[in-house]
Symmetry: C2
Subunit: 214 residues, 2 copies
DNA sequence: GTCTATATAATGATAGAC
DNA sequence: GTCTATCATTATATAGAC
């Protein structure tokens, strides 16, 4: 279900075209002319409606952030996970939004930084509730764990083209998503190491690659 | 330790400048003139040495891939993890390489795709060995798990600016790296869920966000 | 609102002097 | 090898016709 995205004004069509192109190629590689062609209008009209390319970018950011954030259904506002799940459930419609969302964290914008920080805060809250209820194991560094989980979670977005290719489809499919989801569930349930053979503690600087050298 | 990177020819200086700028801003946002200024040479010389901007990009890709891949030390060639660990251990020197490496998977290039696939193959092999020796729990979908672990691992690179900010430093620090590494070790050791309260199986399409809604 | 035409700036790339 | 000067192309953005 789209909320107010059934907006068939020309301005909305231009914005949607920009979301597709910026998501696919990045902002710097997207020209006003390319957006115009994609939207089926003239180049001047793109600028006329948004003032400048940077403002068009901001409009796209705002739109995506609003769409992924403004959830009134169920468990309160700001439920990004639920929104993304809905998007995944209707890939033909929402794939451009998912691609743009991934690009948001990589193209560096204030919108991406803000959303990331909000996701960390949400993850932090949920983890704390889980720990309090006994469902989730405490961590020696709760904030680092929250950042780690958000980072891991977003990697499915930022690296979606590689995931799709490696799993055998040209683009992200429901099947690939399901396989990744189940693998992640395994990981979050019991890790990957057998209980008796946990490796020794890491030193500083060993960084993010230790999961490649089990 | 740099291998053959102590190359102080002008051509190498231009390539190093390009690695810094492309890593920081992306290829499309990096002009020949900007590279020239960064390297302290004229704009024409950049093209003279590399032929075109695209060829300069390929040269940067090749350089980084070679540096991160050609490890003859210890456990055989192609040990990307060991190389990245060395880079992390000397951040002032190698930070531009780490940033470029992250950009490689996001800017989409053939070099990035090839490296990703090789990392998945390596991860697959290591996991299989671990399972055979009893150190690692088997998975219902070994390939998906390998892809997941590589994706998670690379997210520390592709999202490094967000991680650094969220952990309180302006850029990636040894302390942040250490905290993330330890949080990941916890995760890989026992997951996050307590044994008795594992959530039910995921359906298709629930995708990569379930780790945000424990 | 939408177009065409255009001004202005920046881009990648070339040519030729040194 | 390196520079300056320049070209052709493309970019964003503006102005004005309809």
């Amino acid at each position: 279900m789209r909320s107010r995205s059934d907006d068939s004004t020309t301005k909305a069509r231009i914005r949607d075209a920009a979301i597709r192109l910026i998501g696919q190629n990045g902002f710097a590689a997207t020209s006003a002319r390319a957006v115009a062609t994609e939207a089926g209008v003239s180049a001047g009209l793109v600028i006329h409606h948004f003032g400048s390319m940077r403002e068009l970018k901001v409009a796209c950011d705002d739109f995506i952030i609003t769409e992924v954030t403004h959830r009134k259904v169920g468990m309160g506002e700001g439920d990004v996970s639920a929104a993304v799940s809905e998007w995944y459930a209707d890939l033909p419609t929402f794939e451009p939004w998912l691609i743009y969302l991934g690009r948001l964290f990589t193209d560096d914008s204030v919108a991406g930084a803000d959303l990331f920080d909000r996701l960390v805060a949400m993850s932090h809250t949920m983890l704390a509730e889980g720990v309090a209820s006994g469902a989730i194991t405490p961590s020696a560094d709760e904030h680092a764990r929250a950042v780690l989980l958000v980072t891991h979670s977003l990697s499915t977005l930022t690296l979606q083209s590689h995931i799709a290719r490696s799993l055998g489809s040209s683009q992200l499919s429901l099947d690939s998503l399901s396989r990744m989801g189940n693998a992640a569930l395994e990981l979050y349930t019991h890790g990957i190491y057998t209980p008796s053979t946990t490796p020794s503690q890491e030193g500083p600087g060993s960084g993010p690659t230790h999961d490649l050298r089990h």
